[in-house]
Amino acid sequence: MRQLAPIAVFGVAVALLPLFVTSGFLLNAAIMMLYVTLLGLAWNILAGFGGQFSFGHAVFFGTGAYAAAVLQAKLGWNAWATLPAALALGAAVGAFIGALSFRYGLRGSYFALVTLAFAEVFRILANNVDFTGAGVGIMVKLKAGPENFQFATKAGYLYVILAFVLAGLLVCWWLKNSRYGAWLQAVRDNEESAAALGVNVFRVKLGAIALSGALMAAAGVFYAQYFQYIDPGLAYGPGVSIEALLGPIVGGLGTLWGPVLGAVLLQLLGEGTRGLFENAPGLSLMVYGALLVLMVTFMPSGILGVLRRKA
């Protein structure tokens, strides 16, 4: 219960932001921070709480994004109606990949490679199939109005992504305070011991990847609505997978606030390096990469993990 109050405070604080900040640039920065937070929260469920490191979370993200875009553009669905469909598809793809890899006991780098491979397979498929718009990508038609998940101001998008992030935080809070969460963390720490204590390891991991996939798909839906355009590279490319794992690793694996902290720091760093190296595009990515190596080497449990040990 103790951790619920900070979540409420966080929600209220961010919700009040548009009252004081009108700059589109700053609101956009806040939206992107929340969006990256959502990616991190989703990835953290499977990796931080479940110990299964995915390197291809784009497969869930892209599935959500394409579900939103295709259902609207090709089948004329209402944008909000695509959300539950996208969540279900994200969870289904997660369960499918999980069933295949966990059934055969894939762990560690083998599991990471399988997820990476699936994301690439989906990217290539999306590139070659007509109903996804193939390589050209797909546009979400402009239909202004909150009922169509399209807002006149940035504040509208901010509230939507905030709601998603709060939902993600609540899921993680639940993982920290429930039987299922205890089982998941037991599986992360030692599968054999968990099994000996009556935990159905396979089913617990399957649940985690489905949950993680659903939340990641929600991020995909938001992306499609916010930018109103996706293509195979944006949706299924490795960029999103890396963005998803960077935040929790920097902030603190398996913690409630790690993904939030990581996303804020990385967005600030991203903006900073982009400003610094304006004439050398790509250099900011190298800084990202170097940071990741340093973090994994010297602070494998992230900033919050280090702070907790000091405390």
């Binding site: 039987r179 205890a182 089982w183 963390q185 099994a195 204590l197 009556g198």
Partner: protein, 246 residues
């Protein structure tokens, strides 16, 4: 009879790790499984608890056939085990570690954490509840193994060398804990190397060597069986056991 294993066999490549072993464990007793290193004791445990699939043979628990049942299912039926090499959830506290076991019968987090405290009391971990498992001594970790298994409220407890690696004083502290477990109505099957403790604790003993069962009886009977002593426990063991007796 809470547990009946019949004709269990498993081969690892050319090695018959467990070869046609049949044993029965009577309800409410402490039964020891002894034998030299590499005799197949842990493998037999793995067959019984479902971690390794038997090539042949059956395991019956409380009258029903559980052969080939995965470990988590066996645990749900009331058979819990500990590991010879302790495997705590290192990043979690003692309380959280034990609660994973109590969650088997307690859905709510609060109830599981509460039950964990009672179990910690039983095995003498009360004062360590908020310690991280990885900060426990080896004796503490052995107690934690025991506590987690107990927290699943088993009817049969399989203990794989819970006393190994403990000093004599620590052993003297754990022995009454195990006896207390038996007295609370839980049947115990234990693999053990520490013969002094086996003599003290167990009601019956089985002797395993090279994957085969070679003796069965009271601890006194099997350990005074010259064939057991000379052929399987090695020369000079007889004298040491007499000392343990006295």
């Amino acid at each position: 009879m809470i547990l009946q294993a019949e004709n269990l066999s498993v081969r690892f490549g050319g090695l018959a790790a467990v070869d046609d072993v049949s044993l029965t464990v009577p309800t409410g007793k402490i039964v020891a499984l002894i034998g030299p290193n590499g005799a197949g004791k842990t493998t037999l445990f793995n067959l019984i608890s479902g971690f390794v699939r038997a090539d042949r043979g059956t395991v019956r628990f409380q009258g029903s056939d559980i052969t080939g049942l995965p470990p988590h299912a066996a645990c749900r039926l009331g058979m819990a085990r500990t590991f010879q090499i302790v495997q705590p959830f290192g990043a979690q506290t003692v309380r959280e570690n034990i609660a994973v076991g109590s969650h088997l019968h307690h859905a709510s987090r609060a109830a599981a954490l509460h039950a964990a405290e009672a179990v910690a009391e039983r095995v003498g971990l009360r004062t360590h509840l908020d310690k991280l498992a990885l900060n426990l001594t080896i004796a503490g970790r052995k107690r934690l193994e025991l506590a987690r298994a107990l927290a699943t409220e088993p009817k049969l407890l399989l203990l794989d060398e819970v006393l190994a690696g403990l000093n004599p004083r620590e052993i003297d502290e754990v022995v009454p804990v195990i006896r207390g477990i038996r007295d609370s109505g839980i049947t115990v099957l234990m693999v053990e190397h520490v013969l002094r403790a086996v003599m003290n604790l167990s009601d019956e003993a089985f002797v395993l060597s090279n994957g085969r069962l070679i003796a069965h009886g009271t601890p006194r009977e099997v350990t005074s069986d010259p064939a057991v002593i000379e052929a399987y426990l090695g020369h000079g063991t007889a004298a040491r056991m007499k000392a343990a007796y006295a």
